[in-house]
């Protein structure tokens, strides 16, 4: 008996092109109502939200539509002098996730010289444990996401040598599973989001040669479902954010052609909200800035003509990284 595939059906009336102007409107409107319930309840990730918005606008060549000062002032307010890290929003605690977002925002806005680089480096380096892993903050949660945040932040600041890279690589490799994928910790299940973090980590550190790209690439290309969308693990529904995590990982591994790009494009287009703008996880669901960035970023990697090229490792415009002289490894096709 055939297995039932968990998937969605894309109806005929879904969008077939990129509705870029609508997405810009959606993002510029997002957060203007500071009493909006969803907006307020997500303040614990505000810094990342601002990075999602900014990267989308930059990729769409619309950075001139926002006030740069608004962003840099926000970053300053979130800096914690004592630790050297950044919080998600003023009053909250510093965390490596938001420290990376803050640094990414400064890079995109060409304001790296404003950053207290030595403090940030001290914060990141202080989160590394003897086994090479990183905690997210002083409370000790360990996750390969934080390994990625650490090396991405330091690489953007040209300070990668401030940590024990060799140990950090060892830890990430210890999180690789029999199926070629990676989880959040040793023995944790393979998951496309964490695979992106680990492959991205190896790309930043120039150690992609340490993994069997065919093996992992196969697991990743199996994520494409008949709808064209990608899921994050076997037997799960497709989701636009996995379009990014899977396609970016495949791109770093030099195996983007192992899935059907046309079908993926079709799925991402179908996940746009034609009324409000923005992308949702699946066709017909409510849009949000997170899925909007990853929809746009994935389309950029797939070569969408109205978008500027995005870097698969950092999820930032390539021209920003070129300007900073930041390099990341991509395996030869």
């Amino acid at each position: 008996m055939a297995n039932l595939v968990k998937d969605v059906v894309i109806s005929q009336d879904t969008p077939k092109d990129l509705l870029l102007d609508k997405h810009i409107d959606y993002l510029l409107k997002y957060g203007t109502d500071t009493n909006d319930f969803e907006f307020c309840m997500t303040e614990y990730l505000r810094m990342s939200g601002m990075y999602w918005m900014l990267t989308t606008l930059a990729t769409a060549k619309k950075l001139h539509l926002i006030s740069k000062d608004q962003f840099t002032e926000f970053i300053d307010q979130c800096f914690d002098k004592e630790t050297g890290g950044y919080s998600a929003c003023p009053g909250h605690d510093p965390h490596i996730l938001y420290t990376l977002s803050a640094v990414q925002i400064a890079c995109i806005l060409d304001s790296v010289d404003r950053l207290p680089i030595d403090d940030i480096v001290r914060y990141i380096a202080g989160l590394q444990l003897p086994d090479g892993s990183f905690t997210g903050d002083k409370w000790g949660e360990i996750d390969t996401r934080f390994s990625f945040c650490a090396v991405a932040t330091l690489s953007l600041l040209n300070r990668l040598s401030s940590i024990n890279v060799k140990k950090a690589v060892e830890f990430v490799l210890s999180c690789q599973n029999f199926d070629g994928g990676f989880g959040s910790k040793p023995k944790s299940e393979s998951h496309a989001g964490l695979i992106y973090c680990c492959v991205g980590f190896l790309s930043v550190t120039g150690e992609l040669g340490r993994i069997d790209a065919d093996h992992l690439g196969w697991w990743l290309c199996e994520r494409q479902l008949p709808s064209g969308g990608l899921n994050g693990r076997p037997e799960k529904l497709p989701d636009v954010c996995y379009s990014w995590w899977v396609i970016a990982s495949l791109t770093m591994l030099g195996r983007q052609h192992w899935i059907s790009k046309d079908q993926l494009r079709r799925y991402i287009f179908a996940s746009q909200d034609c009324e409000t703008g923005g992308f949702s996880d699946r066709p017909g669901d409510l849009p949000d800035p997170f899925h909007t960035l990853f929809g746009v970023a994935a389309l950029s990697l797939l070569g969408e003509s109205n978008l500027i090229p995005i870097n698969p490792t950092f999820c930032m415009p390539q021209d920003v990284l070129s300007r900073l002289g930041v390099e990341s490894q991509v395996l030869t096709k």
Binding site: G140, E141, F178, R210
Partner: protein, 537 residues
Amino acid sequence: MKVVSDPFCNLCGVTQVQDVLHFFLDCAFTTDVLKEHIEEEMAKTYDHYNEQAVMEYLGEGLKDLKRLTRLLEMHGQVKTDKSAAVKEKEKKQKDAKLKIYREGMAQIFEKRKSGIKDWETMRCVGDVLSMNPDVYTLWNIRKEILLHMVEEKTIDEPVKVGEDELRLTEICLKINPKSYGAWHHRCWIIEHFPELDLKRELILCNKYLKLDARNFHCWDYRRFITSRLGLSPEEELSYTMQKIEEDFSNYSSWHYRISEDGGKWTTVNSIKESPLWVSDLNSNSSSEYNIKVAILNEVENVCLKADNDFVWFRKPQFDPEVSPKLKALLVEQLETCNQLLELEPESKWPLLTSVVFMKAIDTTQFREEIIRRLRCLMKYDKYRSSYYSDILSKFLIEEEFKSNELPTGSFSLKNLGLTSFYYTQYFARFELIDLSHNKLKRTLTKLEFAVNCTTLILDDNDLTSLQNIPFLPQVISLSVADNRLKTADEILNCIDKLPSLQKINVARNPFVEDDAGKQDFVKKLKTLKPTLEIIVD
């Protein structure tokens, strides 16, 4: 509606299901549509939720709902936009919730600023967290206060305090089963309150995994608990199949890292770990060099000698070791695949699995069948056809390298339908490389290892561009006839990468289709390289 009260409802999200029910009731659905949507919602929220278990919990609630919908005589209505009244009601609810959230947060931050670390603050923090469990700072504040209380020795009943904390995380996981903050707090509590009963945690994990078998946070937590209990996962679970899988699918990837020997060594592609390293030789040195080669963590002493052209290669190992016992098992499994394929010849998984088995059993015996089945897969699993064609290319190249001792001098991989290169580090050995009649347009970059190649033949490869051709210092003769190069620039722009070039064949490409194109090309190229022999037809 009947409220389902179950001690575990916090963990299975039953109240959330009820929210969903209410929502759909507002949307005026028929019962059947309703049930369908609940299932859809549940599938979205809970990855592998156990429908039966959830429906059991729902039980009476669903019956009530059926009665209600019948009373309201709502049949066959499709989903419409929410009515203004519903929107207004929701807005009011949200505004009220937001007010509580904001006031709570303000109060907590005020107390934190004043250094107040008491149970009243804990209560406030708990209330806000049960609304919004992802506010990580609030979990930090709880930990700060608890640490403070431990230090001040004001905790009289640690078990009760610990259990209350666990209960709070349960409430929060009900709202968001994937809340990183809540899961980590649970681990932190277990670590800081050793009095707590770990066996109970294991039972809770089982219960929770029954409802959502794919929640990786819960699996991680389960590993955390079992390791604290001193149980190895192996004691509980049978990983037999996984291990067999590991045996044959985890081909050991190997790469070279040569310890820097006076800093003379460089890699061809400037990455730290490269399959090929080269160095200039000192003219006044001896006929022998001793170097250290580190492959992963194994260090080997290697002597480079003049009579071997100072070249050292590690012998390629393509086939993983398979024990006779495993081989017998694989033969059996292959037979099962073949039986399935007799019933459904186009079935992807038996095709793919059988290819893996045949590769592990005997590549020589099954060579033709492996090729045939991979070609079938290219046809039947269209989205991944490039994967299969690349894997087929890898297999064919391995077979070429295996068929005899690694050849020297000239090497041909022509007419194999290759779409990708593998093991190109061995190309460093060859002077003549013939890759004609393949489909290698995507992979020219990998030719970078052909550092000793003097004659390179790339005829009939669907090439549309030579942009990715790498620096090839020794190539004297290049042939790119019968491709799809559209402009003379494709050649002109890569001439710098071929400093030794004396002869080039570009026949039967679109840009030299007519006489004008040919003349124009020859003229331009002669300007750059006057002595070059150019073949245009």
